[in-house]
């Protein structure tokens, strides 16, 4: 009896609450903006933006759909080319903006906004003629004044861009301007509407390559100065225009039909910024291209699998390495560094532990880079030689504690690091500790050179050996992260900076690379490789080894 009553009570309580919840949800739904999920609002026709871009006339939709690609990505840190320093931001920026020079598919430096460049005999003065067809997305032609304004904005103290000096610092007067010591940049001169002259401090053959980086891109002065939020719909000069950016949801790029290097075949690129596993979404036909992670790489590589026919790999201009702090024992002793380098079997780790996700690093310069030598320059895996090397060390009998720092959550060392530790123990009898810290703390400790040894990486910003050999190893470079200092290397690097003969110049870098590997302040571990699956109807897709404008080379058939 009483149990029946209780049941009645319970049921009525439930009923009341269900009604309340139901009612509230109805209110939420009816109020339209209430629901964040696109599903409900789109199907009820309430999602304003979705309808706008999708329903602008039947024929239009068909045309757009025939050249539309769907990619997975994330929000850029910034779309201001002068401030961006990360690869994600750069990938959007190179499609939307442009500068005097750009990189083609094969990474040759080619004119973009400039249509010709003349270099003075002493290699100091660069005279650019502006392409008469180069225009902003709103149709206004690009003038020399626009270029000068943009370069000066990028170099200004007011903007204080972290990348300004690295890319523009060779121009006479930029350094002083950046630190607020001068009011103008004498090295940037507008000759006339279509001519601009840049003067650099010494004849550097890689200067043009630096100008392909976003820091040197052209922005629309009028837009930048009148609209604080201009990066949300930037008026660039690139092959694509940004037509939609919903934070955390999607970014849509549309072809710039008037692009001065030719209207792109691919009409639209949709970057989906949210959602779960990219591969799952690719299999679900929500994406046209998806990266393959280490967990799926075995399956993708099997030609008989459902992924096999769509799978491809693309070497990248990036390297992972172990760095030794040469100012701290025992790494002030070259024998310890060399011994540790020869005691690890990197090839096996790259192929077995990482299932071939990466390529074993055979040196510092990646395959495809100017100056790359197609032979293994790195220290060979040779436990016996490693032991002999260690025996020569002044620390042979009294080894200080060795601690390697890596970025991580602190649960356990990364799988390759565990393998290294095991091999150092086995072959050298060394005990190596691993410490993990979060990314922000890691950067701060790395920059202060507090770490005894650490694992890090480098991504090429322009395809010139100077971008890694000089800026990571010259004793006076602010980005030298090991304290490495060798007068012979410094002198070779300085010669290479100004050597005008390309072959001789690359030869100098090859000498430097051999010296560096021999002294093992870095132990190069792997070169990066991108693994992707691409749908059949996407033609001409490629993963360039570094960030370049690529969408205009791709077509999608539907």
């Amino acid at each position: 009896m009483s149990q029946n009553r209780l049941l009645a009570i319970l049921l009525s309580v439930l009923a009341v609450l269900v009604l309340v919840v139901g009612g509230l949800s109805a209110v939420l739904l009816l109020s339209g903006g209430g629901d964040d999920g696109g599903d409900a609002s789109a199907s009820s026709g309430g999602g304003g933006t979705t309808t706008e871009s999708g329903g602008g006339g039947g024929s239009d939709v068909a045309a757009a759909a025939s050249g539309r690609i769907r990619l997975a990505s994330s929000d850029p840190i910034t779309l201001d080319p002068h401030l961006a320093g990360d690869a994600t931001s750069a990938e959007y920026i190179v499609e939307i903006f442009g500068g005097l020079m750009t990189l083609d598919k094969d990474l040759n430096v080619i004119p973009d906004i400039a249509d010709s460049v003349e270099i003075s005999d002493d290699g100091l003065v660069y005279t650019f003629t502006i392409n008469p067809d180069a225009a902003f997305h709103d149709g206004r032609a690009v003038t020399a004044e626009d270029v000068a304004y943009s370069l000066k904005r990028a170099a200004s103290r007011e903007l204080s861009s972290p990348t300004a000096l690295a890319y523009l610092g060779d121009i006479v007067g930029v350094r002083e301007y950046f630190f607020g010591l001068a009011d103008d940049v004498p090295g940037i001169q507008v000759v006339d509407d279509r001519t601009i002259q840049l003067t650099i401090d010494s004849p550097k053959p890689y200067f043009l390559a630096k100008l392909t980086y976003p820091t040197a891109f052209v922005v629309d002065r009028e837009q930048v100065e009148s609209n604080r939020n201009w990066t949300r719909r930037p008026n660039g000069t690139g092959p694509y225009k940004l037509t939609e950016w919903r934070l955390g949801e999607r970014i849509v790029l549309e072809a710039n039909e008037n692009y001065h290097l030719g209207a792109p075949a691919l009409k639209e690129a949709v970057y989906l910024l949210a959602g779960g596993s990219a591969l799952t979404r690719w299999e679900n036909d929500e994406l046209d291209v998806a990266p393959i992670s280490v967990n799926d790489v075995e399956r993708a590589r099997d030609p008989g699998s459902d992924l096999g026919p769509f799978y491809s790999t693309w070497p990248q201009f990036s390297i992972s390495y172990l760095a030794f702090n040469l100012e701290q024992p025992p790494f002030d002793d070259v024998h310890v560094r060399r011994a540790m380098g020869m005691a690890i079997d990197r090839e096996r780790i790259a192929n077995v532990t990482f299932s071939g996700m990466f390529q074993n690093a055979t040196g510092i310069l990646m395959p495809g880079m100017p100056g790359y030598v197609p032979e293994d320059l790195s220290l060979p895996f040779d436990p016996e030689a490693a032991r002999a090397e260690l025996a020569q060390s002044k620390y042979a009998d009294d080894m200080p504690v060795i601690q390697i720092t890596e970025v991580g959550a602190g649960a356990e060392a990364s799988i390759d690091m565990q393998a290294f530790i095991e091999q150092w123990r086995e072959h050298l009898g060394l005990t190596v500790e691993v410490r993990q810290t979060d990314f922000a703390s890691f950067l701060s400790a790395q920059d202060r050179r507090e770490l005894q040894a650490f694992s890090a990486g480098w991504i090429m910003d322009y395809p010139d050996p100077e971008d890694i050999l000089d800026i990571k190893f010259h004793s006076e470079s602010s980005l030298n992260d090991t304290g490495y200092s060798n007068p012979e290397v410094d002198s070779l690097l300085e010669q290479a900076r100004v050597e005008q003969n390309p072959d001789r110049r690359l030869g100098l870098y090859q000498d430097v690379e051999r010296l560096l590997l021999d002294e093992a302040s870095w132990l190069p571990l792997y070169f990066g490789v991108n693994h992707v699956v691409v749908k059949d109807n996407v033609k001409g897709w490629f993963e360039p080894p570094m960030v370049i404008p690529r969408l205009r080379y791709v077509t999608v058939e539907r």
Binding site: A26, D36, A40, A440, S444, L479
Partner: protein, 327 residues
């Protein structure tokens, strides 16, 4: 009571001042900074020093805090370092909305499930079922959210493939019947976060309701009501039920705080773009202004939740006279 509320609210700015200063100091003194992270791989110390100066990250901590406070008081919570070109407020509000929807649903479920469970358990007191229910509830309550989520994910998302691994797609999907009748059904992304959010909460509620109902059942007025000849239903509905719910009012405030707190873990682990996850990401990237704004919002929410709980208690129980001791 009005005076009490005003007095309590008058304290709010002081509490926020203390909370914000401590957060500010912890963030600035901790290692790492957003400038280095946003700079990418090119980090020239000389250049970064100037960038910090331009972004107002130089000077003593008091100066910096003063600048932050001056702007914050005027409603300017600064700009994100990691999502440049967007003000912190612009970034926070969409995420707060996601968290609010989820939190509200969780709150409802806590009481919807907790109350009947508690009453049922009380009703079964003296049988084997009561300790069984309470025992399993205690077991469930003892599992921290952090420990709970991975096995749930493994079981429902990976093994059985029933639920998505994470993410957010709004509260409801619509089922159309014959293209005319729309039936809102909860989105599948909701089940795991709601389970994680509500498990400790409804267990707490159930236990409280059980104790309270058992106690009320033995009270004189219940005996009197039965003696008058009232039906058992009437006794339960009119006397036991409302009176045993009284202590729940205090739990309401606690449950709300629990949900706010849980948001940090649940949203982060399940990839829900709410304010908890936003705070976590801001902390990892040292996005100072976002950390500050989020902490202030969390602190305000805590304080208000507790104030609401106190006020409701006063409304329901006339014996509680808020602030009376001062008069």
């Amino acid at each position: 009571m009005g005076a009490y509320v005003i007095r309590r609210l008058a304290w709010l700015p002081f509490v926020l001042l203390i909370v914000s200063f401590i957060t500010f100091a912890l963030a600035r003194f901790g290692p790492g900074d957003p400038v280095a992270i946003a700079a990418g791989q090119i980090r020239d110390p000389e250049v970064l020093a100037q960038v910090r100066e331009q972004r107002g990250l130089d000077g003593s901590i008091i100066e910096q805090y003063g600048r932050w406070l001056r702007d914050a008081v005027q409603g300017d919570f600064g700009e994100s370092f990691i999502q440049q070109g967007y003000s912190v407020s612009e970034l926070i509000f969409p995420r707060m909305w996601v968290s609010a929807q989820l939190g509200f649903l969780a709150l409802v479920i806590i009481f919807v499930v907790g109350i009947p469970l508690g009453l049922l358990s009380a009703k079964l007191a003296g049988t084997w079922a009561d300790p069984a229910i309470i025992g399993s509830l205690l077991f469930l309550q003892a599992i921290p959210v952090l420990v709970l989520i991975p096995p749930l994910l493994w079981l429902f998302a990976l093994q059985f493939n029933l639920l998505p691994v994470g993410g957010w797609d709004g509260l409801f999907d619509i089922w159309w019947i014959a293209g005319v009748i729309a039936i809102p059904i909860p989105d599948p992304h909701l089940y795991l976060p709601l389970t994680a959010f509500t498990l400790p909460g409804f267990v707490g509620v159930a236990r409280l309701v059980r104790i309270s109902a058992l106690e009320v059942n033995t009270l004189d007025y219940v005996r009197t009501a039965r003696a008058k000849g009232l039906s058992e239903t009437a006794v339960q509905w009119r006397h036991v039920f409302p009176n045993s719910l009284l202590p729940l009012i205090t739990v309401f405030g606690l449950a709300l705080s629990g949900i706010i707190e849980g948001a940090l873990f649940v949203e982060t682990l399940l990839g829900i773009p709410g304010i908890g996850r936003f705070l976590f990401e801001a902390v990892t990237s040292r996005d100072y202004d976002v950390i500050m704004a989020t902490t202030v919002i969390f602190a305000t929410a805590f304080i208000l939740a507790n104030l609401v709980a106190e006020l409701m208690y006063g409304l329901v129980d006339p014996r509680v006279r808020l602030g009376a001791s001062r008069n």
